[in-house]
């Protein structure tokens, strides 16, 4: 529809697929000023632009919440579906069968994914649905005005809500327990890292879970919370710097939203300060820089250990925690025809007339 068209006549700078940054924008935000979710939306725009994503090859999904509103704030040229509270994963799962060449980009909240949506969230990971799954994690229900979500810390106090009595859900731990194939924890205030991990996630085949701590400036900005900016900034403990190299710089076919390139495999063993490349399914790469220690993002248990340690020591660990680059995504498992399902014709879909006799013959 016309609102989604790039501005006519603008002589803007373009990327490898011939699009300007404007082509990646959405409508103006209606979130609060200073909301962490806004900076994430901006990084999505930047990441897609820099990664030469073709917007029509992305499908946006969300549940319900402030976070779930964000898909209207980026990629106006992508289809999008703002579904039901906690039920984005199933919708995305079905929709991505429409055209297996599309990449899902889901934005959810901690209430949306960890409270009401826990079940669907877990099952989307089990299925390795081909999507980037962002949880904009602020520990509260923003849109309904500040109740505790399931990621709020036990003992946290909020004015109208009293004390939170229940243990927090750790999104990354859940992702690991469900064998998600790409798991990262980020901090919305750290724009560059968000952008780089986003680019990596967009190149990953299967589900990439990004737990992005994204403070709610309006309802949860106390000193005692993980999810407030000030606290987040202090406690943040970056695991890696990640920078993204597109495998190809030339204009891409419209079939793939990410530049396809020969695969570059990950080398073994890392030492402190070493730069490590992780090969992604499509041949593009991410480069990991180990800041603190030899961290191997291919080891699930190690990722759990790092999370446990962080939990025990009360700090946030950010970066790419885990990646399993070779797992087939859901649609890969279905032995589908090459033409996207939603472009098949009647001839291709309706069995030939003569088959009906065979079928009737089977009915006795």
């Amino acid at each position: 529809m016309s609102e989604a068209l790039p501005m006519a006549g603008a002589a803007a700078q373009v990327n490898a697929v011939g699009l300007s940054k404007n082509d990646y924008r959405g409508n103006p935000t209606t979130l609060c000023q200073g909301c962490g979710h806004n900076s994430i939306a901006n990084q999505i725009i930047a990441a897609c632009y820099e990664a030469n994503v073709v917007p029509e090859k992305i499908v946006k999904f969300s549940g319900i919440g402030c976070s779930s509103k964000s898909p209207t704030y980026f990629l106006n040229r992508s289809f999008g579906f703002n579904s039901l509270h906690g039920r984005m994963p199933s919708l995305a799962t079905g929709a991505l069968f429409g055209d297996y060449r599309l990449k899902g980009l889901g934005v959810s909240g901690d209430g949306d994914s960890a409270s009401i949506g826990m079940g669907q969230f877990k099952h989307a990971m089990r299925r390795n649905v081909n999507m980037v799954y962002i949880v904009e994690n602020n520990g509260v229900y923003g849109l309904t005005k500040g109740q505790f979500s399931a990621t709020a810390d036990k003992g946290l106090e909020l004015k109208k809500q009293g004390t939170n009595l229940y243990l927090p859900v750790d999104i990354c731990m859940e992702a690991l327990a469900s064998r998600a194939t790409f798991v990262a924890r980020l901090f919305a205030g750290n724009a560059k890292q968000v952008k780089e991990v986003l680019k990596a996630a967009l190149s990953h085949k299967g589900i990439a879970v990004l737990d992005i701590i994204s403070p709610c400036v309006t309802f949860n900005n106390q000193e005692s919370s993980y999810y407030s900016y000030s606290f987040g900034k202090e406690r943040e403990d970056p695991l890696h710097d990640i920078s993204f190299h597109a495998a190809s710089e030339g204009p891409q076919s419209t079939i793939s939203y990410v530049p396809p390139k020969p695969e570059i495999m990950l080398e073994a063993d890392m030492v402190d300060g070493e730069i490590r490349e992780v090969a992604l399914h499509d041949g593009s790469r991410i480069v990991l820089k180990a800041l603190d220690k030899d961290y191997d993002p291919h080891n699930r248990l190690e990722a759990m250990r790092v999370l446990e340690e962080a939990h025990a020591n009360n700090y946030l660990v950010t970066g790419l925690l885990y990646i399993a680059p070779e797992s087939p995504s859901l649609t890969d498992l279905y032995n589908l025809v090459e033409t996207p399902l939603n472009r098949l014709t009647e001839q291709e879909l309706r069995p030939a007339p003569e088959t009906i006799h065979k079928i009737n013959a089977l009915m006795f």
């Binding site: 079940g119 032995n335 309706r350």
Partner: protein, 598 residues
């Protein structure tokens, strides 16, 4: 001995659940069918895997009336736990066959009693491995029955061949027991009951199928591209039939699939996936039963409001709640008509035969995509899980209707000027684009919140009202795409009957009975869809009394008809009853008689 009673009685077999009697029972059913005699078989089974009593009741009727009957002329008692009750249930003058290892008192002298040495005959066959003995034991009663009432052994062999897909070993094994039973009966039993079968030619050209298989096949011929489901009795076999027949019918020569079937983690997810797939342009369906329907409510409302096509099969079982999971009902009509908070209109298809299960299997997609809305197909356990005689399935007689979809070239022509929810054609149905469309103006944003014709968020009162009124218009438009009712009129009808779904055989039989025995002729409208089309209103207007027959407590369809026909509300008399069993003609005619004699 009294007069021979030929091709007009019921046979009921009582066994413990899970004892493998279904092969035997189906074999009897199929053999009778192959003899050209109208039959039906109904499995009255518990919600259990092994051990509890279960019954299979076969109606044999030369006139083609195949509704269940409450009386059992022939009873085969294989289950000690239901023996006493089974014995008591035999109709006076009937026949009682029982496994003679059951040592329980037999206190009836008004029926014929036939003990069957089942265990002995099985053990005396050295070819039968010990671990299969219990299984093939059931074939003994097939053989004895065959001899005693005259079932053609060759037809039994045909049935077994079909059942075992021509695999010789099991066919031979089972046939040996059938023969052993028949021979033993010939040598040892004296027939004292009057019941016989004789060949006819009333099933020629017909097939034998259950409604879930029919629905799945229909969907496959309708080009189903995506199905998501969650197991639940009595709907599971619908999705399982998709899994069975899709690979056969819908793979490319290269062996690639033009479909995907996903077993979801629950019904919330099953419908969510379907809504996603339908939105993305796939012919998407899900199948479930009551509890699953309840769980699908929220997504159903979204699909209605955001205008996403999908097909939902509700194979009804007995509710409310978990209810009787293995018993049939038509109890979800009112719920489905109101499925979702807020103002909702539901398009509902009501197949009334196995052939229609097939037909609505494909037609539901045309309707859903044309109207861009969920289409509910209400089947039930009786259709879904029992074998029925049926006209053969008919290849779809119209091309697929994919509805109003704009692809790249269409948008090119429109110069990108379109709006997802604009009512361009004045029929309430807007145009849509599908993800994957690469035209830069193709994308739009879908939501369950208020939106303008351009699909932008809006809370404006007039925008909301306009949207809701357009949806209402669409509901009106729908009528022209829905299957009309099937109406039978006779001269001198005293009243009308409205029914739908699996009650049809019982209604037809009741009509015949009322006419023959009481001179009460009736017109009959078999409803096939909601909203009600003009012909339904006219039928009601033409009759002073219209009995609305349905398998539920509250007369749910009658209520919906009342709402839409306030001027005739008092004419609509509910004949509503639901105890879990498939309806009998007697229930209908006695309820009508009671009213008519008032």
């Amino acid at each position: 001995m009294t007069q021979r009673i030929v091709n007009d009685f019921s046979i009921t077999v009582g066994t413990p659940n899970g004892s493998g009697s279904s092969t035997a029972n189906n074999t009897i059913l199929r053999a009778l069918f192959k003899m050209g005699i109208p039959v039906s078989g109904k499995n009255l089974f518990p919600s259990n895997i092994q051990g509890l009593p279960t019954w299979y009741t076969i109606r044999v009727n030369k006139d083609g009336f195949i509704a269940r009957r409450a009386s059992h002329e022939i009873m085969v008692a294989m289950n000690p736990n239901s023996f006493t009750r089974d014995l008591a249930d035999v109709a006076p003058g009937g026949a009682f066959f029982y496994a003679d290892d059951i040592k329980l008192p037999i206190n009836r002298s008004d029926i014929s009693i036939y003990p069957m040495p089942v265990k002995q005959l099985v053990r005396s066959n050295p070819e039968i491995p010990a671990n299969l003995r219990d299984l093939v034991a059931n074939m003994v009663y097939v053989g004895i029955l065959a001899h005693m009432i005259g079932i053609d052994i060759e037809k039994i062999k045909l049935a077994l061949k079909f059942h075992f897909k021509n695999k010789e070993k099991p066919i031979a094994l089972n046939m040996s027991m059938v023969k052993a039973g028949a021979e033993w009966a010939a040598a040892n039993l004296t027939k004292t009951d009057p019941f016989y079968v004789e060949p006819m030619n009333k099933t020629e050209g017909l097939i034998m199928a259950d409604g879930n298989t029919a629905a799945a096949l229909g969907a496959i011929y309708g080009g189903v591209q995506f199905a998501s489901w969650y197991p639940i009795t009595p709907a599971s076999s619908l999705a399982e039939s998709l899994n069975e027949y899709l690979p056969m019918l819908r793979r490319t020569p290269e062996g690639k699939n033009t479909f995907a079937v996903v077993q979801a983690e629950d019904e919330l997810a099953a419908i969510g996936m379907c809504v996603g797939a339908g939105w993305a342009g796939l012919r998407a369906m899900t199948s479930t039963s009551g509890p699953g329907m309840s769980l699908m409510t929220e997504y159903a409302g979204l699909a209605y409001f955001a205008e996403v096509p999908l097909v939902i099969w509700d194979v009804q079982r007995m509710g409310p709640s978990t209810g009787l999971p293995t018993r049939t009902s038509q109890g979800d009509v009112a719920f489905v008509a109101n499925m979702g908070h807020g103002d909702i209109d539901s398009l509902i298809l009501l197949p009334g035969s196995i052939k229609e299960c097939f037909e609505f299997g494909w037609r539901a997609f045309d309707i859903a995509e044309r109207l861009q809305t969920p289409v509910y197909v209400l089947s039930d356990l009786d259709f879904g899980m029992n074998q029925w005689m049926s006209e053969p399935f008919e290849y779809p007689n119209v091309p697929m209707d994919r509805g109003k979809v704009l692809w790249e070239e269409d948008l090119e022509q429109l110069k990108g000027d379109w709006g997802r929810y604009r009512d361009v054609d004045g029929d309430g149905i807007p145009y849509r684009t599908l993800p994957g469309n690469t035209h830069p103006a193709s994308a739009y944003f879908t939501r369950g919140t208020g939106h303008t014709p351009e699909a932008r968020y809006s809370e404006e009162p007039h925008v909301w009202v306009a949207k809701m009124e357009r949806l209402k218009k669409k509901y009106e438009t729908a009528k022209q795409y829905l299957p009309r009712a099937v109406i039978q009129k006779v001269d001198g009808a005293k009243f009308g009957i409205i029914a739908f779904g699996s009650t049809d055989p019982a209604v037809e039989e009741a009509r015949a009975y009322l006419e023959q025995e009481h001179g009460l002729k009736s017109d009959y409208l078999r409803l096939r869809a909601i909203p009600f089309t003009e012909d339904v209103s006219q039928f009601i207007a033409e009759h002073e009394r219209v009995y609305v027959v349905e398998i539920n407590r509250d007369g749910q369809l009658q209520q919906l008809l009342s709402i839409k026909h306030p001027q005739h509300a008092t004419r609509l008399v509910p004949i509503a009853y639901s105890d879990g069993l498939p309806p009998t003609a007697q229930w209908i005619w006695s309820a009508i008689l009671e009213q008519e004699e008032k």
